[in-house]
Symmetry: C2
Subunit: 366 residues, 2 copies
Amino acid sequence: MKIVRPTLLLDEQRCRANIRRMTTKANRHGLDFRPHFKTHQSHAVGRWFRDEGVTKCTVSSVQMAAYFAEDGWNDITVAFPLNYLEVAEINRLAAKIKLNILVVSAAALHSLLGGLVHKVYCFVEMDCGYHRTGVAVSDSKSMDEILQVIESTPLLEFAGLLTHAGHSYGCRSGIEILTVHQQTTQLMKKAGSRLRAKYPDLILSVGDTPTCSIANDFEGIQEIRPGNFVFYDIMQRGIGSCPEDQIAVAMACPVVATYPDRGEVIVHGGGVHLAKDFLKQEDGSMVFGRVVRMTEEGWELPSTSMTVKSLSQEHGIIRATAAECGSFKPGDVLGILPVHSCMTADVMGQYVTLTGETILMMSKVG
Amino acid sequence: MKIVRPTLLLDEQRCRANIRRMTTKANRHGLDFRPHFKTHQSHAVGRWFRDEGVTKCTVSSVQMAAYFAEDGWNDITVAFPLNYLEVAEINRLAAKIKLNILVVSAAALHSLLGGLVHKVYCFVEMDCGYHRTGVAVSDSKSMDEILQVIESTPLLEFAGLLTHAGHSYGCRSGIEILTVHQQTTQLMKKAGSRLRAKYPDLILSVGDTPTCSIANDFEGIQEIRPGNFVFYDIMQRGIGSCPEDQIAVAMACPVVATYPDRGEVIVHGGGVHLAKDFLKQEDGSMVFGRVVRMTEEGWELPSTSMTVKSLSQEHGIIRATAAECGSFKPGDVLGILPVHSCMTADVMGQYVTLTGETILMMSKVG
């Protein structure tokens, strides 16, 4: 394949293997698998999930739910707190598909009621320690208020409790991840046990990529919703979620200059391509990506010791030894494994597979 | 205007005033004005420049040059180091318009020659202290090598020397900015003086937003290329380039939850909307945007003391006092002044003016 400008390469084989591995795991544990599609945001990749028998998905916005509904997904959870200003779009969707919304307060839900004309299913978001959004497990007053609104509204049906253990992203080992997982599932089961008598079909839904990748005890949990695992990235590798050879995307970037004196290679590939998430190193420096060498078939592993030290809008500045600088010249193409593949994919808006096929994402068509 | 989801608002009046102010300044100093269009990436905003008599522009990629050439711009500088892999697109453009390319080494230029079939104009990039790309002013050997390739190639014509004083972004006052400006222009004039006898029409081109906003001494300089000033942002305000009332874009974000106990308001508006540039505060905390209250006509100034403390993919987490939290409820809409408007615009791909008109950008059409 001929690369002439920054191109987000997608290794379909690795990606499909990631999907298959997580689907198999969900099946083995008797879990409903409702993968989060915010990472890939693509009809084509969604169909790879369908090839493995997946029939439900999670998205991060009502717009994204509409995009996947267009491609036949008819059981979708919007795992972002309900914004009742979007009631018109919620109604359009709920008329066609089983739409699950996320509730964090009785007030927001109450505001929806004036405009709602189709049935929606409600997950209540639980805060199990991430402290972003959701009801604290100890806060039974807020929970009861929410359930009261749901109970008194025929167009609302209680589906279950949902949490995102986003604090697992602060982990740096399998042990730490398992600790977060255990705390989270314990809290979810505690919250669920209060309600199970009244709601025997209550779903407990968990699902960040680190815990779903590493954990093997899902007893008492009904559903998982990981998303990033579809591609993984070097942040996940750092957390301990995956080995490097499961990372399914790399940005191919043309070299435009080399500066052996100061140990830098400059590529076309900046913040508008990679996005600006970074890993902080122990010495305080930042890493915006890891460099891999390109091969005929994709990219070579293990990655080099070269890392992206900073990003301008279009420039990537790569830290390299003088010898490494000398091994590249303008016009060569190198690969960069992204720090956070969700954000990289989002800014690029499209992928190119290793066989040269272009795959569009929501942002390029929606 | 009814906001239902994250929407990048563009105050056309402020934006046109920013354009007019910089055009007037360029004219007053007898400078060619070649604004950088990578910030707005929009045909519509480009036309607002044309309304002020601007006829030349700068872009950051060959693709962006093609996008603006489509709308009638016929004198464009690609202010990114030449990537000869794009020779096919360079030829297509050079057949139609006056295309200026940026050269940082003789090697890269030499590689272009095999494929070049139309005349292009060459700026040599000078490194005046930013140390990203370019030829050091002291490095006359590299400069002579480049000029030799240009001289011996009929399809290449030397246009001048170009620099980007990106280190001005580290400034925190007008005085610091003026110091960078003075050093930069001195170095450029020194580099130019070596060549002026042989190339009397040599153009010296400078142009970051901080120095072009603040400086008033452009003696010996022929061209300026600022870009960000079209919108400005809170980073530029922090540098000292602009007052807050010249910032022409704000992200309107629906509130989805408030947590007075921990002093946080959660909005729909995350990394996929604002991008992830941040300002580091003296206490080590990060600011990803400043909150403004929305009004019927746009947004209110001065901004509140509320700031965006972190961003997930779709969530914005805002630091607020309990009283401020209490003044918002789910369904309210607040505004966020972005840290780096170039990156925010790029990820959004479109603007909505205060009169409700949608303006598309390159990424949504290209």
